[in-house]
Amino acid sequence: MMDSHASMTNLPDSAEALAHAPRREEEHAHPTWSTYWKVALILSLITVGEVWAYYLPSFVGSRGFVPTLLFLSGLKFAIVVMFYMHLKYDHRIFRVLFTGPLLVAAITLIGLMFLFGHLFIKIM
């Protein structure tokens, strides 16, 4: 499952060797400066777009406003998490540790919105 990295080959065979086992750091293609500033640019542009949308009365009144803003915010969220928090490049255990709770949190939020009448299911 999550312990793919714990390969069972080359087992250190004494306590001594264990204590001195070389560090097996994650070796990944880390993003670089050019990724970083592009990400920052995209984030800024999305933010400008969001605030802009806020000042368009006709759009604010429309049905698409809330979903659009939620989508944009989710997009920014995902970009920061993937690139700045380098979840995209890191060990998958971190993805499990983050997305698992995030899902539970999101579902709880949606559940509460239903229960308090901020969301509806239309039956018939």
Binding site: H5, A6, W37, V39, A40, Y54, L69, S73, Y84, M85
Partner: protein, 224 residues
């Protein structure tokens, strides 16, 4: 009693770990996962109480006090908050640069640009200052709200708004203190590649606080 900061030793644990990862990084991700539930509880409460305050001021609507006839404008200040949002967003850029600078400390730098990009102190300072600026904006926002007649005790909106954004502000504050501590270590003995884990976990925390603000900004400020 305080041991010298030089003891914040190389992040590499000399012990065997199952995944070959440093336990501190595993723990910080678990912590971040847990914080998702913390903030979702706060955000849920804000949304549950949205539009249910009996008296104003309100976030997006005008309100006339029936007793005094006083008119309260919508209280949220979008331009100011957009600016502070932008500052926090940029702080995340500074933070990744700080981490990259620490990781590449020992690589030779030839151009002026490389030297600037490679200065961990510069980027740690920039991140901390951006964080402090965000907090300044928040202090300004809070005081002006109180002047306009919205306190944490005024109505459901006031209670849930100040608590939610206050919790976030407290997280930013902790982050700034964390960054300043890293700076102190940097000045004391210089942060190098072997310290990258120390900076990495601080950065993960910092970005997470930023990410939470991305959500708050949309849900509280932009969506009416």
């Amino acid at each position: 009693m305080t041991a010298p900061a030089t003891h914040v030793s190389a992040p590499a644990p000399h012990h065997y770990t199952t995944l070959g990862l440093d336990s501190r990084k595993v723990a910080i991700w678990a912590f971040i996962g847990s914080e998702c539930m913390l903030f979702v509880s706060l955000i849920s409460t804000y949304l549950i109480y949205k539009g249910r305050s009996i008296v104003g001021p309100f976030p997006h609507e005008t309100w006339t006090d029936p007793a005094t006839g006083h008119v309260f404008k919508p209280i949220l200040n979008i331009p100011v908050t957009s600016a502070s949002t932008f500052v926090l967003l940029m702080s995340s850029l500074f933070m990744v640069l700080a981490l990259a600078a620490v990781q590449n400390k020992e690589k030779p730098k030839h151009t002026r640009g490389e030297r600037i990009l490679g200065s961990s102190r510069l980027w740690l300072w920039m991140t901390a200052i951006a964080g402090a600026t965000f907090l300044g904006f928040q202090a300004f926002e809070f005081t002006s709200f109180v002047h306009e007649g919205l306190s944490i005790r005024t109505n459901l909106f006031g209670s849930s708004f100040f608590t939610l954004t206050g919790f976030h502000g407290a997280h930013v504050t902790a982050g700034v203190i964390w960054l300043v501590t890293l700076l102190a270590i940097d000045y004391r003995r210089g942060l190098g590649p072997r310290d990258s884990l120390l900076v990495d976990i601080a950065a993960l925390y910092w970005h997470f606080v930023d990410v939470i603000w991305i959500v708050i900004f949309t849900l509280v400020y932009l969506i009416r």
